[in-house]
Subunit: 347 residues, 2 copies
DNA sequence: TTGAAAGCGCTAACAT
DNA sequence: ATGTTAGCGCTTTCAA
């Protein structure tokens, strides 16, 4: 590879001058500048990023840690994050953890090794809070509450859970089921929607069955098996709440078994990934604000990288109900939005 | 940050000794080793990756360039690639191009700047072949024919197109339509399936309408609009071939307009992403071997990075027909596989 | 306006 | 068995 020295020699100047031409900092006489540019051209020189990184102590890379990129929610999320980071001049490194603790540790190690400037942590995580805190480096939790000192960006799952419950109630359900929230032992804000869902639904006199959520998207058939099990154990279920994939699997099961949707069973999906747009009937869905989550995560992480203080401790963004034809709730509003909140960092 | 010098000083040894302890190369007396390890522990030292990278002239990062990560096919692909790369000790950088030439150029620049050790190019690309060749650096094309000297890994789209055609023929279609392959001006092996599809179908006396493929997955409604347009212009269509998303959109349109599938219209999807598993009726699908594509791409790129010669010029992997209930072809075989090929690099 | 030189933190060759 | 040193390629003082 040609180096800055080669260019300098070729142009008959010092390396510093070439550097000045490249960066635009400092004065360079017009004629020397042109000479240098010509040499750069002729030698087909491109500066070495690794050397720059070492000098500046920054890699310009942000890692995004997620359980599984193939999952539609995460791929849409990471895609949006990549766009935002790219706009700010950062590159995106993706890391699947497949819900394994070892992987998470490996990625924290990367941060310590200065391989990446910051981490957006969107993984199902079960490491001790201290692990993150002691780093004292740019980390933010995306829908994950990592530690008190680490900023969180998440959707308003409490509102989401309530909206789902209310939609099923409005649709006249008496006997509902949800996937998730039973034995989750991780501190994801996401599970709150299940607590709220159950509470609201029961306060309104409905029966609620809660099924555990399975991770591992690649094994798509776990969703179908879960759906089959639900209908086998509760043939009288008339309302279902679950993430897009559970909802889709239940819809599929119902339709292929002569159960009419929404007449016999209503379904509300949660997440709002693109796949919900390809179903028939249209899936009623609580949509997470994926672009906004990406935008805020990137905003926070880049501020931290730049060494700026950020005052927000938690950014909770509103979710939206998109009413389709898998529920029959009051058709007045086509979509509803709940308000989000921002909690200031107190320290 | 604490450096290797700090550790050396703290342990009362030279920096090289610390380096030796860390790398395991060279002899270190047991007692000094322990002293060094203790210092590392006490100072909470982690080696700086950027310095290592500079020294070794390698970043350990492979870039994967794709049009849009949110698209299920690409997210499953990148997810699989990340797993393979991770197993071999590499990190994965993702880059959306959104079909824009400028972005592609930017990423090639990254390669030249030694920011990444190699690139897996899975993007819709229209740059001149010379651009890639003159780099003389690790690049492989994933379903993209970049230049004669650049290895290609792709699915056997010719077989795929034929299999789709034959399945619709077996199912008794007379008047079929496909999405894609009309005015594609990029050299992707993928479009061959459309040529073959049309040829096979017409040889068997069917009528074939070809609709252009739209890029841009985020605008999911383009798929629905395409489906609506097809049914409006050709109400008598009885067979459809398109990627998963087109197939899903057509299925959705048909079902919501009282068109029975497979009785009135048969559908064959292409790609085989997870979403096809969540539809009702089960979608008949030509599945690309995503894991194998990922595996081969990674194998090739890492070999190139290690400076090894690779003899394969093209690796064409077999696709598989997964028969669902959107076609009614001879039910004997539940799935069929076509053989792939490997072309040796002649040079 | 420009060049020389001192690092950024690490590793490997060369001494000892 | 271990320390010293010379870079990896860049940027940025500091002189000139």
């Amino acid at each position: 590879m040609t180096t800055i020295q080669d260019v300098a020699k070729h142009a008959g100047v010092g390396a510093a001058t070439v550097s000045r031409v490249l960066s635009g900092n400092g004065y360079v006489k017009q004629t020397t500048r042109e000479r240098v540019l010509r040499s750069i051209e002729e030698l087909n020189y491109t500066p070495n990023e690794m050397a720059r990184n070492l000098f500046h102590g920054k890699s310009g890379i942000v890692a995004v840690i997620i359980p599984e990129l193939a999952h539609p929610f995460f791929s849409e999320m990471v895609s949006a994050i990549e766009v935002e980071l790219c706009n700010l001049g950062y590159q995106t490194m993706v890391c699947n953890t497949f819900y394994e603790k070892n992987y998470e540790l490996r990625y924290l190690e990367m941060l310590k090794r200065q391989r990446v400037d910051g981490i957006i942590f969107g993984a199902h995580t079960s490491l001790a809070a201290e692990m993150y805190q002691e780093l004292r480096r740019p980390v933010i939790g995306l829908d994950r509450r990592l530690a008190d000192t680490i900023p969180l960006v998440a959707a308003d799952h409490v509102a989401g859970g309530r909206m789902a419950a209310e939609e099923l109630i409005r649709s006249g359900c008496r006997n509902v089921a949800q996937f998730g929230g039973v034995d989750d032992n991780v501190s994801t804000p996401a599970r709150h929607r299940h607590y709220v869902f159950r509470r609201v639904v029961e306060e309104n006199g409905l029966t609620c069955h809660s099924y555990p959520k399975q991770p591992n998207y690649s094994a798509y058939n776990t969703y179908q098996e879960a759906a089959a099990r639900l209908f086998a154990e509760h043939p009288d279920v008339d309302g279902i709440f679950g993430t897009d994939l559970y909802a889709a699997a239940c819809l599929q099961y119902a339709l292929s078994h002569g159960i009419r949707v929404p007449q016999d069973v209503k379904i509300v999906a949660y997440d709002g990934t693109h796949m919900t747009r390809f179903l028939d009937p249209d899936m009623t869905t609580i949509c997470q604000p994926i672009e906004k989550l990406a935008n805020e995560s990137v905003r926070l992480i880049t501020e931290l990288i730049k060494g700026n203080e950020i005052s927000e401790r938690e950014i909770i963004l509103p979710v939206r109900l998109r009413r389709g034809n898998t529920t029959t709730g009051n058709a007045a509003a086509e979509s509803t939005e709940a308000a989000g909140t921002v909690t200031q960092l107190q320290q």
